[in-house]
Symmetry: C2
Subunit: 362 residues, 2 copies
């Protein structure tokens, strides 16, 4: 399959990943790590997955402190291919500044550009199915929809927002209108969604013409769009202007009001997806619940009668005996021992370290 | 209380302690470690406990590879105060060579010397009660008994041999004859011993005149005694002669046959005792089962909802969340995660490391 004409991949590379401490740190967040044992980091896998669609048309939006690491992992990125944020101001600012930059390029070249925004730390094993879905999304975006990709729910999760699908979009194979975005529900409510059908996980993947995105935002916050366009016109002013950008997720800023206005479409993603929210999901991604899975060199792990996840992330031997659903993460300066069930509580360790003045370990 | 006239403390400092891996290593066995958080190693605590009884009359018998570490931990030891074994040949050879050395000193000085042998890796919190018991044992030893100290059983253990007490020894406060030594029993049999009364744990503590010990041994193995005396006469010959010593525990070589011949007495030890056989007993020694006990710097341990033992033995932070009766032992080159219940299985890790050619970690 050829690349998609005029398609630009935007990759927001942010997020602290505190529930993956001590693997993920503020100075080295999860997108910089190989969490699947593939030999490629999540960022590299994201770029690999997008290259057949976008070729070298990629914009990575990341924190200034991560720019060097991003460029080291993706050495083919050109000088203009990274937008370095002075601080983290949530997804609307990150995707919005990329949209403003691409809007200018479209105007300059006369091309009909469409951007697709895909987080740098998601796992999608089936790149072909992903590509097919994006192609359909681009086609819908060219009818001036904000197009979101809806992930088929693997279980009634209370950790994700849901997309409530509406009527099919005429002339498209799978695209539908979006009735509404639903905030993270309770498990009971999520069970109802799965039973009813027509609900999909919102993974924050948006495909849209840059100008459409900015004009949808302008109906809510004209000043925000002005700031983004000013930065795009002279990116050397980003340090001066960035703090004026409201800290708001793209879902609240644009997707929800646009859905209410009938401007959002969705294409159901026919592929597996995981955002590796914690060590429980990482363990589930790497193996069966009855196994002891090792992320790293298996010869460094010894022991018996154990299930769960072991990460031998220093040069030490790790011996584990007689524990079920355990999580052992060994790094050069910090060790975590917990259970898959308590994976959500790992963020409390990061808070405790900050509270005791040990920020260098977070 | 004054020291005991003519009393010599013999401290066999050996044993691999493989069930305490990775804290205890063949190159740094458990007696060299502070396992109670007191700031003193087990060897140092043993010497501290014996000093009020023996003053500077102490003989440490240890492997040649450990002599330097022993002297570093006990800097007041004189040149003749360490007997360095070319190889480990069990307790009869270790205590026997010390007895042969002390027999010569007794003959040379005309003093009535009595030796007491106490392993370097046992924990006895109440040094005063220990001292009182040893004084009684020395008095019985001066009637040419081999005197063993009987530990009151804290529970029906299948890990220790038992001393079956006989009639009281006339003229002594607590000393009794020993009917027999009983090999490690099943838990059911041990329960019977505790219900019946009159049984005590054999902790391998023997108090005896050097010549009495050697003559009791000579009734079983005359050549062994000849070898020990030849070494004592010229300790520079130890490398040449040591391998001639049979590898046999003192219990089998002397104590059991001597008991059958009516030559063994026992003094009941009125003190708590632990040989820290594994991490379960170490955890029990350091705290209550409902606690998370830390051996080391508690500020390096984070987390919640955990009971068991955490040893932060490297310079790293250790976070443990939501595990009961867990054992986490962190050292610079190896990490152990297991449960108190599985503490006995730790020796299997040492075997696996040796089997995979990683002896440097054992």
């Amino acid at each position: 399959m050829p690349a998609v004409d005029g398609f630009w991949a935007v990759v927001p590379a942010g997020g602290a990943g505190t529930r993956l401490w001590p693997l993920s740190r503020s100075g080295s967040p999860k997108f910089l790590h190989d969490l699947t044992g593939s030999g490629r980091t999540l960022l590299q896998q994201t770029a690999d997955r997008l290259a057949p669609l976008a070729e070298d048309r990629i914009l990575v939006v990341t924190g200034q402190r991560h720019e060097a690491a991003v460029r080291a992992q993706l050495p083919s990125l050109g000088a203009d291919a990274v937008i370095a944020e002075p601080s983290a101001r949530d997804s609307m600012a990150a995707i919005g500044v990329a949209a403003a930059v691409l809007e200018r390029r479209a105007d300059a070249s006369g091309e009909d550009l469409v951007l697709g925004s895909f987080a740098a730390d998601h796992v999608i094993p089936d790149a072909d199915a992903f590509g097919d879905t994006v192609r359909e999304a681009v086609a819908a975006a060219r009818e001036d929809y904000l197009v979101t990709i809806g992930i088929e729910p693997a279980f009634p999760s209370s950790a994700f927002g849901y997309i409530h699908q509406g009527d099919p979009l005429p002339g498209h194979a799978r695209a539908c209108r979006v009735q509404e975005f639903v905030e993270k529900p309770s498990v009971a409510v999520a069970e109802g969604y799965l039973a009813a059908g027509g609900y999909r996980w919102n993974a924050g993947m948006f495909v849209v013409r840059p100008r459409v995105l900015l004009e949808l935002l302008a109906t809510q916050d004209r000043a925000f769009v002005d700031t983004l366009r000013t930065i795009a016109a002279d990116t050397s002013r980003i340090d001066e202007l960035w703090e004026q950008c409201p800290k708001i997720p793209i879902d609240h800023a644009v997707a929800e009001p646009a859905a209410a206005a009938g401007r959002v479409a969705t294409v159901p993603g026919g592929f597996g997806w995981d955002d590796i929210g914690d060590f429980d999901s990482l363990a589930g991604l790497l193996g069966d619940r009855s196994e002891r899975v090792v992320l790293g060199d298996p010869s460094r792990v010894l022991g018996s009668d154990t299930t769960g996840l072991v990460v031998p992330g220093s040069d030490r031997v790790v011996a584990v005996i007689g524990l079920d659903d355990v999580v052992v993460v060994d790094t050069p300066d910090a060790l975590l021992v917990t259970t898959r069930e308590r994976a959500q509580d790992v963020k409390g360790i990061v808070a405790a370290l900050k509270g005791s003045g040990r920020d260098q370990l977070t």
